[in-house]
């Protein structure tokens, strides 16, 4: 994995922060290579995603990119910047404004051999497509006994921390992870953003690709094209001996910060980045927790019935006799996503995660 991650200050005006550098780079070199050539440089997650889409479009004529405002505008987060210009309106195009329509047509296109990659503009605006996702996208392979697979990728910018008004900061992953037939993936670093998106597009199954939008402007030094671990593997981002922080998406960076801060408190924290929420990499996670004997799961989504509940439940099942304390969860509160001026209190912070670590019954066990 050729990436290091640095967290940039949170951006409140997404659209203006996006850049077209990667796009231009890639366009310039188009004639020479079939993939964006190796350039070790500082790359934002947004740029990495853009490059992944570009390379996929270039490598596979069946790949199509469509959704709301993904054409000329390049998406409100500029993830599709330059693609319509480079590949033409037949490969990257705007649709009418209707999310069920977008996912439904993607399904039909995939039935005809295409590989649609569609964008939902924000997390909460994917909900109108819920029936198409749940009753069709997730089930069609099963319903047809394998005769109709659907290699569709649905890109969902998710989560908060960008100062967005209501409906722009939902963490909706639990709805998808509970739906058999879907794969659910989320990158925590720019390198993974590129690699996981390439994997997702190449995957024969539908993938809900959750993009932690507050990390779009996080930079990593990496070579493009970069390939990291396979899509279904979790990764130990930082080894430690005392406790395992299990995180994904935007919370990977927060967990790493917490690990730094925890060192001052005398705790050696291991950070696991799940990357793939479905399927779940039991092997990596279980090995870590058996080693450390303590675990905290972190996500932005509301805690109750969130994805962290599954992680806590299954880790406990598999590591019960290794656990010094119950697996704790640090998630958003069980409230509708609050307004921008209060979101910092809602989202898991380094301090709140540290508090959870502190509650892991150190005295008793240390004795």
């Amino acid at each position: 994995m050729a990436a290091t991650t640095s967290v940039t200050k949170k951006a409140t005006t997404p659209a203006t922060k996006a850049t077209t550098k990667a796009a231009t780079k890639a366009a310039e070199t188009k004639a020479e290579a079939s993939v964006t050539p190796a350039v070790r440089t500082s790359v934002t997650m947004a740029q990495a995603l853009n490059a992944a889409l570009r390379d996929a479009l270039r490598d596979d004529p069946s790949v199509l990119v469509f959704g709301e405002d993904v054409g000329k505008l390049g998406g409100v987060f500029r993830i599709t910047d330059g693609l319509a210009a480079e590949f033409g309106d037949d490969r990257c195009f705007d649709t009418p404004l209707a999310e069920a329509g977008i996912v439904g047509t993607a399904i039909g296109m995939a039935m005809y051999g295409m590989r649609p990659v569609v964008e939902m503009q924000f997390d909460a605006f994917a909900y109108p497509a819920f029936e198409q996702v749940t009753s069709h996208l997730a089930k069609l392979r099963n319903r047809t006994r394998g005769r109709l697979g659907l290699p569709v990728v649905i890109r969902v910018p998710y989560g908060g921390g960008i100062g967005g008004v209501e409906h722009h900061s939902d963490s909706s992953e639990a709805y998808y992870t509970h739906t058999p037939g879907l794969k659910v993936v989320t990158p925590g670093t720019p390198a993974d953003a590129y690699s996981l998106l390439r994997d997702a597009i190449a995957d024969p199954d539908p993938v809900i690709f959750m993009e932690p939008k507050r990390r779009y402007w996080t930079k990593g030094d990496l070579d493009l094209p970069v390939r990291t671990e396979p899509m279904d593997r979790a990764v130990v981002r930082r080894p430690g001996t005392d406790v395992t922080l299990i995180a994904y998406g935007a919370m990977v960076a927060t967990a790493l910060e917490t690990a730094d801060a925890a060192r001052e408190e005398g705790w050696d924290v291991e950070v696991v980045d799940l990357r793939s929420l479905v399927p779940f990499d039991d092997e990596t996670v279980t090995a870590s927790v058996r080693r450390t004997g303590r675990a905290v799961v972190v996500h932005e989504a509301s805690t109750f019935g969130g994805y962290g509940a599954e992680v806590a439940a299954r880790v406990t099942e598999q590591c019960f006799h290794f656990l010094e304390a119950p697996v704790l969860r640090v998630g958003g509160f069980d409230i509708p996503y609050p307004p921008p001026k209060l979101e910092e209190h809602h989202l898991p912070s380094v301090d709140r995660i540290l508090d959870a670590v502190a509650r892991l019954q150190w005295e008793e066990a240390g004795a």
């Binding site: 399904i107 005809y112 029936e131 047809t144």
Partner: protein
């Protein structure tokens, strides 16, 4: 297109009237007698199949059966109007359409007998699985049609929905996407005037359902759905236009659901027998039979031959459906993903263990 061009006419398009007499239409010619004979034969077979399926349901061989009785002209003629490479998107109601498409009747009934969800290979017949969530298939149809268009293939798509399903948001999104993308898709609305217990008057206040097309800048046609000749002519033209780049069309076929919604439904709770009786007199199969007999294209012997052939198929179906299908519990874990996950593998082992304990 100007609004005037989009508006359907004031009366349903008809090429053969209730008494089996030809009707002249300014826009559509009547299909050849050969085609009419084929439609007749397919409708007789379709109806016999439908009766057989209903009987099988009574015997507990099917979990549920939504009958096509009364709607044979729509289903048979629309499917016969399709080209070889065209795709069909049916709902749960289109068993007769699927049989007409050439799919093995046992495969058509696989879903309804409680066996695996889709019994046939969609690619082999270019027929999507039967679709239960209402109107969701319309969007799939548009997607497939548009993919074909983008590839430059000469393929059109025919998708069926009911009158009730036109109220769903997905129908609207499909109509609009189709029009905006000029996707080669023909929406055939089988307006059988009931959505389970809800009559059309509580479903829509549109002058006709075909009028919905106007709001999308799409052509709308209002057709006598019990006139197989008219359905065939209009759908065929619409598919040809679509394939040639003329964009989508909406074809409303006015018909009637003669049976209850499914075998589990009790239509007596919500509609009058008198209404059903009225429509019995508009029977689509008899109508075409009258024409063919009157014009000498069919004689008594041929009529009996057609009936006998249908009877034979039904007997074969009955026999094959008497055998209980063999299902393998372990298959539960197949085809959830292209490659089974470790997680599902463990669940499969759990089930296998249970079954071995029982045995």
């Amino acid at each position: 297109m100007s609004p005037g061009e989009l508006l359907p006419g004031s009366a349903p398009i008809q090429l053969v009237d209730q008494d089996g007499r030809r009707v002249a239409d300014p826009a559509y010619g009547c299909p050849d007698t050969g085609v009419l004979l084929d439609l007749y034969r397919s409708m007789v077979a379709g109806r016999r199949f439908d009766r057989q399926a209903t009987a099988l349901t009574r015997q507990g061989r099917l979990a549920v059966y939504p009958s096509s009785s009364g709607q044979e002209a729509c289903q048979v003629a629309a499917v016969r109007a399709m080209g070889e490479l065209d795709w069909l998107f049916p709902t749960y109601r289109e068993s007769v359409a699927l049989v007409t498409r050439g799919i093995d009747p046992v495969e058509v009934l696989t879903l309804l007998r409680g066996d695996w969800h889709c019994g046939y290979d969609p690619h082999a017949y270019r027929a999507a699985p039967q679709c239960t969530p209402l109107a969701t298939n319309t969007v799939h149809a548009v997607g497939l049609a548009d993919a074909a268009r983008r590839k430059g293939d000469q393929v059109a798509v025919l998708v069926f929905i009911g009158d009730g399903a036109t109220s769903e948001g997905d129908a609207h999104e499909a109509f609009n996407f189709a029009a905006v993308f000029a996707a080669p898709v023909v929406f055939v609305v089988q307006n059988n005037q009931w959505a389970i217990s809800v009559p059309l008057s509580k479903q829509s206040k549109a002058p006709t359902l075909a009028h919905k097309a106007v709001g999308y800048g799409m052509r709308g046609h209002h057709v006598d759905g019990n006139d197989a000749a008219a359905v065939y002519a209009v759908v065929r033209q619409a598919l040809d236009d679509a394939r040639a780049g003329g964009g989508p069309a909406l074809v409303e076929c006015l018909t009637y659901r003669m049976d209850a919604h499914t075998n589990a439904d009790d239509a007596g709770r919500y509609r009058d027998e008198a209404e059903v009786e009225l429509w019995r007199q508009r029977d689509p199969v008899e109508r075409l039979e009258r024409l063919l007999l009157a014009e000498g294209a069919l004689d008594e012997a041929a009529r009996e031959a057609v009936a006998a052939e249908a009877e034979e198929s039904a007997a074969a179906l009955r026999a094959r459906m008497n055998a209980e299908p063999e299902l393998t519990p372990g298959d539960l874990f197949e085809h959830v993903y292209a490659k089974p996950t470790a997680h599902l593998h463990r669940q499969a082992e759990l089930l296998a263990h249970e079954l071995s304990e029982e045995a």
